[in-house]
């Protein structure tokens, strides 16, 4: 079954598997012990740290192994904020960070700190100037991902790092999606990453804290990993994580070209094959292997089910919020269509034929979902006065489908007011207007929901 969801988690790389098996035999003992098995474990741990630090581009003594990328982010945010508490309690994050960063920011706010979210453009890119404007005298930390996990847009990390350096503010880079491809450029202060995203085992994250960065590890204290990752070291997994990071880097140049071309093919062909599709994210400054598109009048989970039945594993919306049925915070921040969202992220070594087969089955899958939902066909015409459409209690994409069905019933210049209590409507109705060249007038509060006003233009 073609697996196109490496941005969630990558299958174990053969080198990771081999290293894991070897380290289960050689590296199971406690590296803090002085007897032979302990010393051997310590040597493996030191070697893994050297390997990983080289791939990150930092010193070995700046790098700690955590139990996950999420833990690395949580510890990085808490430790940097605590270390600079005298400077202030202001935190700057981009609006499209991974949920681990945003949850850490929420915890900081709940604890009395303040947070500024830096917005992004329609490609999902956060501008260095926007970061510069957000930094203040009491800013303790800024956070920017190296590349977005949902739409693949690469962020201007080096430029933002320079802006932060000018202001004397440390920058934390969440490099989870890109570290398998390349080191993070620029003068960053802290970095977090996650082994299972590059084909290493689960259970290992990386946390780098540059020398000179003020950092106070969160309590409770622990002696392992410089006090930055409590608990017994997961040594076999650490060894496998480091070995596989080196291995995927060795393949990166060749696969960057190959997967980049396959993604270009998807970006070009999907809008030709499927009507009413919005391919989102930066077409050039992007991860090589990841592409996201949204399909008007389509329920994302239903489309994933159709693709699963057709043999394809893909993802929808935010990787960490698809189960909560709220629209992706990334797509919302970009201001693009969220309904019928599909994220394709290709594994290393994926056969070209799998991608072609995906392009074959996609149009039928979208069509079946649209038919099931009763999406409008083109050219409905009628006339009448302003109209109010009550879709309260109906989940996305139904409000947009209903709107599309009746827009032709009002005269050009008249309005359709859609009453909806689905949060996704706030994003998808304006996006539909943009795609259909209708005028989005705005929203206002309404009993039990929100009223979205659309004026017929064509």
């Amino acid at each position: 079954m073609p697996y196109f969801d490496v941005a969630s988690t990558a299958p174990l790389h053969p080198v990771a598997r081999q290293a894991l098996l070897a380290a289960l035999d050689e590296g199971w003992a406690d590296p803090a012990r002085l007897y032979r098995e302990g010393r051997r474990a310590r040597m493996l741990l030191d070697a893994a740290r050297e390997t990983a630090a080289e791939a990150v581009g930092c010193r070995a003594d700046e790098l700690s192994f955590t139990s996950s990328g999420t833990r690395a982010v949580h510890t990085a945010v808490a430790g940097a904020l605590a270390g600079r508490r005298r400077t202030g309690r202001h935190l700057v994050v981009s609006a499209v960070e991974h949920s681990s960063v945003l949850h850490a920011a929420e915890a900081h706010e709940a604890d009395g700190g303040t947070v500024t979210e830096v917005g992004v453009d329609r490609t999902g890119r956060a501008a260095p100037e926007a970061f510069r404007a957000a930094l203040r005298g009491d800013t303790a930390l800024a956070c920017l991902q190296s590349a977005n996990h949902e739409v693949g847009t690469v962020q201007p990390v080096a430029e933002v790092a320079a802006v932060c350096r000018d202001a004397g503010v440390p920058l934390l880079v969440d490099a989870a999606q890109s570290l398998g491809w390349e080191p993070v450029a620029g003068d960053w202060s802290l970095l977090a990453a996650s082994s299972h995203k590059w084909g290493g085992p689960a259970g290992v994250g990386l946390l780098a804290v540059r020398k000179g960065v003020r950092f106070a590890a969160p309590a409770p204290a622990d002696e392992r990993e410089r006090g930055r990752a409590p608990g017994f070291e997961n040594l076999p997994a650490i060894v496998a994580a480091a070995a596989s990071l080196r291995a995927v880097r060795a393949e990166a140049d060749a696969e960057r070209k190959r997967l980049g071309a396959l993604v270009d093919r998807i970006r070009a062909r999907v809008p030709e094959l499927v009507p009413d599709v919005d391919v989102v994210g930066d077409p050039v400054r992007r991860l090589p292997h990841l592409v996201t598109f949204s399909c008007l009048y389509v329920d994302g989970e239903a489309l994933l089910g159709e693709l699963d039945r057709a043999g394809f594993a893909v993802s929808s919306g935010s990787s960490c919020t698809s189960s909560t049925l709220t629209p992706s915070h990334v797509l919302r921040a970009m201001g693009v269509l969220s309904e019928g969202n599909v994220r394709v992220s290709l594994p290393l070594g994926v056969p070209e034929s799998d991608v072609d087969r995906f392009l074959e089955v996609l149009p039928g899958a979208v069509r079946r979902v649209r038919e099931h939902l009763g999406a409008p066909s083109e050219g409905v015409r009628a006339d009448g006065p302003d109209l109010v459409l009550d879709t309260l209690g109906k989940r996305c994409p139904i409000p947009v489908i209903e709107l599309a069905k009746v827009i032709g019933d009002v005269p050009v210049g008249s309005t359709v007011t859609v009453l909806s209590d689905d949060e996704a409507a706030r994003l998808d109705i304006p996006a539909w207007c943009a795609m259909r060249d209708q005028e989005y007038v705005g929203e206002r509060g309404a009993p039990d929901g929100t009223a979205y006003v659309v004026r017929r233009r064509t």
Copy 2:
């Protein structure tokens, strides 16, 4: 090489290895995903939770998988304290808990909470009545290990749980050392454990929170594992942890008898084979596989080195503080000799001949360390007035060795005052007096250290 340190970490059980390999193939995907690989991962996770919950003796929905036993303890303490914050901020722990519990208590104190340590008797046992006396109206949580990790003494958990239940206080049991042998009896509220202690892989801890126990998971929020263990699930390791817990339980009855008899042999033979040895911990209410003894006039690390050269991997002092060169907090709380401390913890299936060989090499190893340190032989005699012995700057066991050399130089009834700046002297000089039937008069402050006064009795 005979490995006698499973209380630090156990070698991977064959069942764990087998399950890990299978789950690397079947359970690498994200269990939150709806496609086939994700659903398969979810089924494996659910099955592992059922298996582990059965072994713990709780409901599956009460059990979360954490990234380590230390994390399970930290989360349990923080979550239970936060959940009962309205009741108060008083925490009760035994004085011989694992460092993860004590570090969590330190963090609570640093955050403005209060902590009461319940003392233990000379066997390391915390009395239920002592717990009852420590509980107050504002006590939010009490913590007691199921069995001590350094001396093997089994704690009266069921009785303490009943005392806590009477007082309406939840009890957290750190079951790290005993869960592979049996479920924890009694009406406990929370439980923590660690996979690598029973032969499962590193990177997996268990956290059980009984229904009805007030619990507020520490921030930042995360959707995995009921919000109690942030980060991507380490599914292959979780599957292996659950499978190996079931496997070691199946062997427990037979191995309990066999290892129990081998430990009895060590307990009986060591004092016969080695002069001036104190075997510590409860001789009956103990873990089957663990025994600890201390050797007068011996440096623990030097003895471990001798035993390592002889082919035996054993541990010394507290498993988590041996690198800090401070005496074990457990031995200190028990008020027993700490110098020359050796902990032997036998793996499942250990051959009897390995234990016999250990008993053969131990006397020579102790003798060599004593000779190297210049430990006194018996029967030194002389007479003179009161004496002051300056051992400032000398590390344990030197102060005790010097004391033993000069005690015969003063008349019966006169004193030797030992000046020392080594913390271990506070424990070991009184212990030496008890073993040698000399009178320990007491200690007083002195420039650059402490003055310990000993009166010659015989």
